[in-house]
Symmetry: C2
Subunit: 612 residues, 2 copies
């Protein structure tokens, strides 16, 4: 056994140098007041000692065994994006299966067993009498998002300072995603938290309670049309505040096949409308050919939609036309929100079939003689009263295989305000922009929607078309989207350790029009050579041909090449029509930066052991 | 007026040097025994003389005015493909509209007007008495395919030596495509030939008659299973003789929206079967789930198909999965027939609807519970009796919008032997391999066809998959094909004249699955900058969304860049799902060389005037 005080400099790499000597010890304890990146590396190295049976470190407040890999979280001051270490990934892979939390709990509750270590006692738990709790606003909670500022989270109205627990978290630094906000959405992702002892652990970190009104809507500010917008999870990366446009950190996308509602990208064109579900009405009409009288005007309440039509559920991926616009913008500037790779998500949608509703509203076979489009109008509107609108081909709306829904549930929950409460259209396989939210009106027509977003936006153009020459009439409105894929893990610019020996890549792949993703090729040398990733689709099995509405997640573990320190990771997907992603960005560049589906590229650096 | 004997060397460019002097003359006649490329250039230059009213040249046998641009045809001895000059293209553009033939005819008949030119008389026409005609075999005719070997063609049993006419042909060197074979298919392409005076002109070149038996099938050779194969047009480029696989010269593809049957690529897997239409039977059966009894066994005669079901017509492009394989093979060797860009064609197919036939055979809605595929079996078989087979998804076969046909006509004619006489399946939007010819059997099944071509061929793989690692079970059978386009004119390696000042590119573009081609981008600098080509679709108008089964032809005229002598022409198409072609070949390389749809690239050289 050996007890190491915290005297080393992380840069000096003393522990690495001392490895041969340490190699022969059975128990090693490292004393430190702060969890530093280097210590985690050292501990991971020491875990390979052939005789080692226990490896611990002690904080200034507690000595906690930590054979689990600990977290590293750093925020680079010179860039706005949080950068994550990938180091823990492999070390914690097994723990995530469920044993990790149990282990952490056991370790936490059995500090007494550390009889051979002389350390200060842990602090007393905070008072447990509810009357004594401080009350914090959400804003105050949101300021606690780092080890330096303390790490606070909320859970069912309670506020918890979990700073001390961060290093013990079996899931590693994922816990920092919840910093400053609610843990519930993460716990929904990781079923391992659904255990009583997890709540017991959390209770010990309670520091106060969340102000009651922060769980309700903020008081309205009549001068700001966006004042009624709902609260959003702080982990979202905001591309625009008003209207709200935000995406989750990429790695969250590949944590679960279905994207939790709070993390699902939000793409609003206008303020979120306040809709009273009790008085909500959806108007449906069959508009005859231009000039003829309208008919089949039907008004449906939310209850009508829920009770008069069979409830259908479709798992479908929605992607914004601007997803990955930043890749295009970086190649040559475009106009549009600077989306990363997170303007995509996969959800299980439930509602009435659009086809059923159209037939109930009086759509008849004869209408096929003139009808071509189904227009949708949202209840969201600008200060001038212009509402959001879009349309889809009639065939898609009417097809039994088209699976279009008037959805009132998302992942088993009531449709969230940001996703169109109380009803949105879900048009599987079709660009997000046609999946109109806060749906107010459906019109069967011989013409497309006349809205700005159908006529003069969401269209693709040649790289040779600029703002002086663009004629929106010359291009079709985007409907089905092309094949797409991206690498979510590791992040661009990540550093990996040579000693890891291998690297696991994760990502998503999806194609529009119900075309199933059949292969994802991955390269670690910029596209010179390729490997085939493992695909993970719906556990329920393969969809029928032409109805593959949901993405596939993919994963691939590759050995780290010995002869290079820079890796250019690339992925490209293939769909069931054998469409492939274009290689480069510039040849598909377009002035609005839509349809950005060139090969996704991520650069990572391999750090040799002697680098530190 | 000036009379120039043929004394100049083409390399010396004397005519160019003498231009200022010649510039002032009103009539110029050039004496030459052979039509040489330089003379054509010189003549084109001289046509710009401000005072010139007539420009003629004289052969050793005839003096023929030729204000029309004359042909150049060269065969490079070091390469197997015929290379065509593009020089005549612009000069003859107007003539092709119909005036050209008239002009040529007029010129031909009014040699007497050349009274101011002293030249030998034209030869006497060959004897017109039928009894005196020599009889030639098709093989003998086929040997006459160049100016050196004389140019022979056949028309309605007659054999014609048109060598002298080649330089007068208003359509330029296109006439050489007919050399050694029949002119009828070309005349079907160019309606301008449907005039009496054209026949009168042709009659003057008659040299004999085609052996009667050469218009019938060759006598059967029982030792050769391919001995009953039909005759094919000699213009086809043969990739394999037995089984027959051949494609037309690229430029023919863009001459007409619908590809004439004789020029439509032939892709046979086995000998062409001899089917007696009188006794032909198509078997249709609904095969229950594995193990259950078969039912709905129906046997339909050709008359049944023609008379018991409505005749439907669909214009659809068929493309071989191996089209453009040579591009892939050139990047890295693959196994397969070395198709150029001509394994694609567009035809108007007529027949019974597959859906109608399946319903008539007893397909019922309940069958959707187990049925997934429709299998097709051809009557073509190998020596062991194995027949060609393939299958398509049931949904495609049953969909009213799928437009699948049991076709017995192709472009208004009885289905040709090479294209499946008497009946083939046409599966619009789907790879050629599933459009089974000489159809003998249709089976509704819960499984795909077990044939080699469905299970172990016609599938796409990663570039990392080689013959040691390939597992055909891991990839789906190709059905819908991805977006494709190619440049048919100019040909790779062509030379264009600087003095042309501009260059016209032509090509085709098509996508599978009924996705309409919405844009073709063209580059003359290897893909750095792009222009948008003009698309030419069906004159009947745009198809409904998802039913764009036919290709679009495209064309673009660009100014010749002043600063370069080498142009790299590139095209890439975009379909209605905004799928685009991949940039490069190697990243989509696959061991069988299928799905070769990277940007098509053609290199041309600009020849400056002083080059010659």
């Amino acid at each position: 056994m050996v007890l190491l005080p915290e005297k080393h400099s992380p840069q000096a790499g003393w522990l690495t140098a001392a490895r041969p000597w340490l190699w022969r010890r059975r128990v090693i304890i490292i004393m430190t007041s702060r969890i530093k990146p280097q210590i985690v590396i050292d501990m991971l190295l020491l875990r390979h000692c052939p005789r080692l049976s226990r490896l611990c470190y002690g904080s200034h407040r507690a000595a906690v065994p930590a054979v689990i890999a600990s977290a590293r979280f750093s925020r680079d001051s010179d860039q706005s994006h949080v950068r994550w270490s990938r180091r823990w990934t492999h070390a914690t892979a097994g723990l995530l299966a469920g044993t990790g939390a149990v282990l952490a709990y056991a370790l936490h509750h059995h500090q007494a067993e550390q009889a051979d270590v002389s350390l200060p006692s842990p602090p007393s738990p905070p008072p447990s009498s509810p009357s004594s709790w401080s009350v914090f606003s959400q804003e105050e909670v949101s300021r606690h998002r780092s080890l330096e500022d303390r790490v606070w989270v909320t859970f069912k109205g309670g506020v918890y300072d979990i700073t001390e627990f961060v290093s013990m978290h079996p899931g590693g630094d994922r816990i920092m995603l919840a910093a400053g906000g609610a843990v519930e959405p993460f716990w929904a992702l990781y079923a391992v938290h659904n255990q009583e002892h997890v709540l017991e652990m959390l209770a010990e970190y309670k520091v106060g309670e969340l102000r009651a009104e922060d769980q309700k809507k903020q008081s309205l500010n009549p001068s700001d049309p966006f004042s009624a917008d709902p609260d959003r999870h702080p982990v979202l990366h905001i591309n625009n505040m008003k209207p709200f446009n935000a995406e989750p950190p990429p790695q969250i996308l590949t944590e679960s096949y279905v994207t939790p509602n709070v993390f699902f990208f939000k793409r609003n064109h206008l303020p979120v409308p306040q809709v009273d579900p009790a008085t909500y009405k959806l108007h449906v009409e069959i508009q005859g050919p231009s000039g003829s009288a309208r008919r089949g005007i039907v008004s449906l309440s939310l209850d009508d939609l829920k009770n008069k039509f069979p409830k259908r559920t479709v798992t479908a991926t929605l992607q914004c036309a601007g997803n990955r616009r930043s890749d295009m913008h970086n190649a040559k500037p475009v106009k549009g929100l600077n989306w990363g790779i997170g303007a995509i998500g996969n959800a299980s949608w439930s509602g009435a079939s659009l086809r059923d509703v159209l037939l109930a509203a009086g759509y008849a076979p004869d209408d096929a003689l003139w009808a071509r489009h189904v227009q949708f109008e949202g209840l969201d509107q600008d200060v001038g009263g212009t509402t959001y609108g879009a349309s889809i081909p009639l065939r898609k709306a009417l097809s039994e295989d088209g699976d279009c829904l008037l959805a009132y549930e998302m992942n088993g929950e009531e449709l969230p305000a940001d996703h169109g409460f109380p009803v949105r259209v879900v048009v599987p396989g079709t660009v997000g922009a046609r999946n109109v939210k806060w749906l107010g009106k459906i019109v069967v027509s011989d013409v497309e929607s006349s809205s700005h977003w159908q006529q003069n936006d969401y269209k693709g153009f040649s790289p040779s078309t600029d703002w002086d020459t663009v004629d929106y009439k010359t291009a079709p409105a985007i409907q089905e989207l092309p094949i797409q894929s991206a690498i979510t893990v590791p992040a661009d610019g990540a550093k990996v350790d040579r000693s890891d020996e291998e690297l696991t890549l994760k990502g998503y792949a999806w194609s529009g029009g119900g075309r199933e993703v059949v292969r994802v090729d991955v390269s670690v040398d910029g596209g010179k050579t390729w490997r085939i990733a493992k695909l993970k689709g719906d556990e329920a099995g393969s969809p029928p041909p032409g109805q593959a509405w949901a993405w596939k997640l993919w994963e691939l573990t590759v050995p780290l090449p010995a002869d290079t320190q820079q890796l250019e990771l690339v992925c490209k997907a293939v769909d069931s029509s054998y469409n492939m992603q274009p290689d480069a960005v510039l040849p598909i560049w377009n002035l609005r930066g839509v349809l950005s589906n060139a090969w996704h590229r991520v650069k990572v650096t391999i750090k040799d052991d002697q680098d530190e």
